[in-house]
């Protein structure tokens, strides 16, 4: 009987090898596109890249009134005009995700340096046990090293950390209650929750402070009031693995510790919190420097006024903030590329009336997350909009950035292609006078799937030239079926 089982097992093994080949040839790619589209971020990395910047939303988040809406990675390129700087940016990602993505970078790529975003918040319980984690982990399964069929088996049998939102909340609460501070932390509270409960009421009792401030003060403690345990914190090992991978692949690994709003943290939660933030950052600097990484500390680089989110704790910076981080990073990279450094200056607003975007690179226009290689009229990229991401890459600028004489009308022209049925796409011209928004929309001519079509619309400014504030031009499509937009040209006159 044992012999019989052994023979059948061997046959089964051979069949699985065959199935793996069938799967790899005919099914794997469509599965990747469906379940792990993040792979496209890696594929977009040019093979001649010298510096690869890996990050999350801190890289590409901008404020509408930023003239320069480019991500940090692109600003970094200004300092090294002779080098190719590319990026892999995945919002809400962390080192565990970067690790898997970096494993996918082909050997043929000429990358010599990998800059990895090291976000202090990604070490806290809220991020480690985030509700987004299940979906993120799921999207990584097909990318693991190993035969594609085995990875698909793991995906089918849910071999990743599946937890409901409620379970995630319980995990966070458990960590906040049970992860304590030692003497080094110098915090007079038993755990983060106790600390939060001590801070928020102080603000509530202050007569001139609203509830939102008290909530924010508590949130600062929840976000930063933790002590990194190098033995148990999963992020520690993730970054270590990236450094090991870097050594294996011959990359210089740079850990770019992001700026946090220490000014606000001090104001709202006290210097104890700022002290703990600094201790954690120092620990990371020392820990990873010992392991051979170049660590760049941006902690205090960005002033409070340059943080975009005023009511939450994030690393989203306005253009001057992103520039500061890029500048500091660039100055540290001089150690690796002393000859290539150029003392770049920030882009200044200049009155202009004509704008064009072929969506081939991340531009300062904004909403770059819709840019895809799925189809294109010119080049390889276009902006694709559907229910998931209904606003196309479009122009967002302040009225004072266009000449006074050109604030009467706008001509919007682009190429578009309907990719499914039905679409409800509209070209939108949105203008504010500082307090009111006026919105004009013109539907696309065609509604049926087909080839690329030209489109042109002319609309008038709803306010006097002197009153024009923020201007937005984009395509809006809330339908499930997608529409692709390319070569957008906007002329104010």
């Amino acid at each position: 009987m044992i012999r019989k089982i052994a023979i059948k097992t061997a046959i089964l093994f051979l069949l699985l090898v065959l199935m793996n080949e069938v799967y790899r040839r005919w099914f794997f790619e469509s599965d990747l596109q469906q379940h792990s589209p993040v792979i496209n971020l890696v594929r977009q990395v040019p093979v001649n890249s010298d510096i690869l910047y890996v990050g999350e939303s801190s890289n590409l988040t901008y404020r509408d009134d930023d003239f320069d809406k480019r991500p940090i990675s692109e600003m970094l390129g200004d300092f090294y005009p002779g080098l190719v700087v590319s990026d892999i940016t995945k919002p809400a990602a962390h080192a565990g995700i970067y690790k898997v993505l970096l494993q996918q970078v082909p050997d043929s790529a000429s990358v010599s340096t990998v800059v990895v975003t090291c976000n202090l918040r990604s070490f806290n319980a809220e991020w480690i046990y985030s509700k987004l984690e299940t979906a993120l982990q799921k999207s990584m399964v097909l990318l693991h090293p190993g035969p594609p069929l085995f990875n698909r088996f793991l995906l089918s049998f849910k071999a990743y950390d599946i937890r409901s939102d409620k379970e995630r909340e319980q995990q966070v609460l458990h960590a906040l209650r049970n992860e304590t501070f030692d003497e080094y932390a110098g915090v007079p509270y038993k755990n983060t929750l106790e600390w939060k409960d001590a801070v928020a009421p102080k603000w509530r009792s202050a007569s001139n402070v609203d509830e939102a401030t008290a909530i924010l003060a508590g949130q600062y403690v929840i976000t930063y009031g933790f002590q990194i345990d190098t033995l148990r914190n999963p992020r520690i090992r993730d970054f270590e693995d990236i450094i090991k991978l870097g050594k294996k692949r011959g990359w210089n690994v740079v850990l770019n510790i992001m700026a946090e709003n220490t000014q606000k943290a001090g104001e709202l939660a006290g210097e104890e919190l700022v002290g703990l933030i600094r201790k954690n950052v120092r620990l990371l600097e020392e820990y990873y420097t010992r392991r051979g990484a170049l660590v760049v500390n941006n902690l205090d680089m960005v002033a409070d006024s340059c943080f975009i989110d005023r009511n939450w704790t994030t690393e989203h910076y306005t253009a001057p903030g992103r520039w500061k981080v890029a500048q500091n990073l660039a100055s540290h990279l001089k150690k690796l590329y002393p000859e290539a450094y150029f003392d770049a200056q920030p882009v200044q607003p200049r009155p202009e009336a004509h704008f064009f975007n072929d969506f081939e690179g991340l531009s300062w226009w904004g909403r770059n997350e819709t840019i895809s290689t799925q189809t294109a009229w010119s080049g390889t990229h276009s902006s694709i909009v559907s229910k998931e991401k209904p606003y196309s890459a479009g122009l967002v600028l302040m009225g004072l950035w266009i000449p006074d004489t050109t604030r009467s009308k706008v001509r919007i022209s682009f190429m578009y292609r309907i990719l499914g049925n039905p679409v409800e796409a509209t070209v939108v011209f949105e203008v504010s006078d500082g307090s009111n928004y006026k919105w004009q929309g013109v539907p696309l001519d065609k509604k049926e799937p087909g080839e690329w079509e030209p489109y042109t619309a002319v609309m008038s400014f709803p306010f006097d030239p002197g009153k024009v504030g923020k201007i937005k031009v984009y395509v809006y499509n809330p339908a499930t079926a997608a529409v692709a937009v390319d070569d957008m040209e906007i002329l104010f006159y």
């Binding site: 009987m1 019989k4 089982i5 046959i11 089964l12 069949l15 699985l16 199935m19 069938v22 799967y23 099914f27 599965d31 379940h35 799921k138 069929l149 698909r152 088996f153 793991l154 995906l155 089918s156 049998f157 849910k158 071999a159 599946i162 039905p422 339908a479 499930t480």
Partner: protein
């Protein structure tokens, strides 16, 4: 731990290996520990409910056996009923009862308000409570000797393959098998694996892929056109069938590897000629439970016609209520009762031949009629509330609307559905392991390869727990 999760793929072989390595007299310890571990992977503290229910029924059984007649045994039976139905009421029906009573108080302008319970429904509570109740009732009537070994009794209550969603086994059938010192046989291993493979296919490839479409339609039917809604209603028929059938087949296969034969729970129900036959083919372990412990004690068909009709309606309504604490389940059960009675009445007026040849035009016509009825009645089962169910029907037959969205169903889904329907028809009145064993080696291995490939490559990737876990 779900049958279609990686944990079970590791758990089952480990249990099976140790099961056969251990001497027979110690196996119950392994199986009981494995069963409790299996259950505790959901919510560890709820294991106390199973242990409590086990202890009460174990001691009630012992006490009842020592007493001479039903009258003197009654307090112990009531203790068992009170414990098991009390657990069910507390965890499953309390909020339903409180909500309806609060509405009643409001309408009577009374200031009384019962609180809402935040207790999570323990997985499989309806299954194991009914399983232990059948034991207590059998001991009460003297049909079953009380079990003296607490460990074996606890294992009967918690045996992991069928713990959380059945089949609901009788003590007289399952317990002797759990005590038997099974030897490892190649035949049991292969048949068990065949069943598990087929169960995984219909759960992971069919049910899990359909559930995405069904969830969309039931979540926002107003977004979709009439044809999509009808498709969603149709898909739910196949989703719930493949989901529950898949679970049952995996349970049967898992037990079979260890030499334990669990009863079949499904026999191609959508080819039933009428509702009576449908319930002989759908969730057989529950239907027979209600027949033996409710319908027959109520008098069965040896009563007046009116009383019989009342009995039929009562059984179906209670069966509906067993599924869930919602008016939709009561209506779902009640509708089956009504259709059953109508079919009985029309059967007398227009008698059909005694034997309808399988797949003859008469059979197909009758099966089509039954399937349409069952599919429409499922709408009440799936909807969150009665108004939602009625809205589904209204929208499903409103052909004049402009839908805001449409279902995008991939060709792979249609191919898989076709494959499932083909196998289901081929398996009419037979089981997959028996059917496949009759094929020659080449066909057998082709079937294995196809199913393995489909399970790995076309399985739905969202985590949809088995539908019947919520009951």
């Amino acid at each position: 731990m779900l049958f279609n999760n990686i944990e079970f793929v590791i758990f089952l072989p480990v249990v099976v290996i140790f099961y056969y390595l251990l001497p027979g007299r110690y196996r119950w310890i392994l199986l009981l520990a494995a069963s409790y571990f299996f259950y505790m992977s959901w919510k560890a503290e709820y294991i106390f409910l199973i242990v409590g229910s086990t202890l009460v029924d174990y001691f009630a059984g012992l006490r009842m056996e020592r007493l001479p007649d039903c009258k003197s045994r009654r307090p112990w039976l009531l203790a068992s009923l009170f414990t098991n139905l009390g657990l069910l009421f507390t965890f499953k029906y309390f909020n339903f009862a409180a909500g309806n009573l609060n509405q009643l108080f409001d309408s009577l302008h009374l200031s009384l308000q019962l609180p809402h319970s935040d207790l999570l429904l323990p997985v499989g509570i309806s299954f194991y409570t009914f399983q232990t109740l059948s034991y207590s009732i059998d001991v009460y009537y003297g049909k079953q000797k009380a079990e003296r070994h607490l460990g074996y009794f606890a294992l009967y209550v918690a045996y992991f393959p069928q713990l959380v969603a059945g089949p609901i086994e009788r003590f007289s059938r399952l317990s002797p098998q759990l005590k038997e010192r099974h030897v490892f046989t190649y035949e049991n291993l292969v048949n068990g694996l065949r069943l598990i493979l087929y169960g995984l296919f219909i759960k992971m490839v069919i049910a899990d892929n359909l559930s995405g479409f069904v969830d969309k339609i039931y979540a926002a039917p107003e977004q979709y056109g009439a044809s999509d809604i009808l498709l969603g209603i149709l898909f739910y028929s196949f989703q719930i069938y493949s989901d529950f059938y898949g679970y049952s087949v995996i349970a049967i296969g898992s037990a079979l590897i260890m030499g334990v034969r669990i009863m079949d729970n499904f026999r191609t129900p959508y080819l039933a000629k009428n509702i009576a036959e449908f319930w002989q083919r759908w969730h057989i372990s529950l239907s027979t439970w209600f027949r033996d412990y409710l319908y027959l004690p109520l008098g069965g068909n040896r009563v007046s016609s009116v009383r019989w009709m009342v009995n039929i309606l009562a059984v179906f309504v209670v069966s509906g209520f067993w599924h869930g604490a919602n008016w939709t389940f009561l209506i779902w059960g009640g509708l089956y009762g009504i259709v059953y009675l109508i079919e009985k009445a029309t059967g007398k007026l227009v008698p059909l031949p005694e034997q309808v040849k399988p797949f003859s035009p008469t059979h197909l016509l009758l099966a089509g009629k039954t399937f349409i009825l069952v599919t429409l009645i499922w709408v009440f089962f799936r909807s969150q509330s009665l108004p939602d169910a009625l809205e589904m029907f209204r929208l499903a037959f409103d052909w004049g609307r402009q839908p805001a969205d449409s279902l995008q169903i991939s060709s792979v889904t249609w191919w898989m559905m076709g494959l499932f329907l083909t196998t289901d028809i081929a398996l009419y009145n037979t089981r997959f392991d028996e059917w496949v064993a009759r094929r020659n080696t080449l066909i057998r291995w082709s079937i294995y390869s196809l199913i393995i490939f489909c399970v790995i490559v076309f399985a739905g990737v969202e985590n949809f727990p088995f539908i019947y876990f919520q009951f």
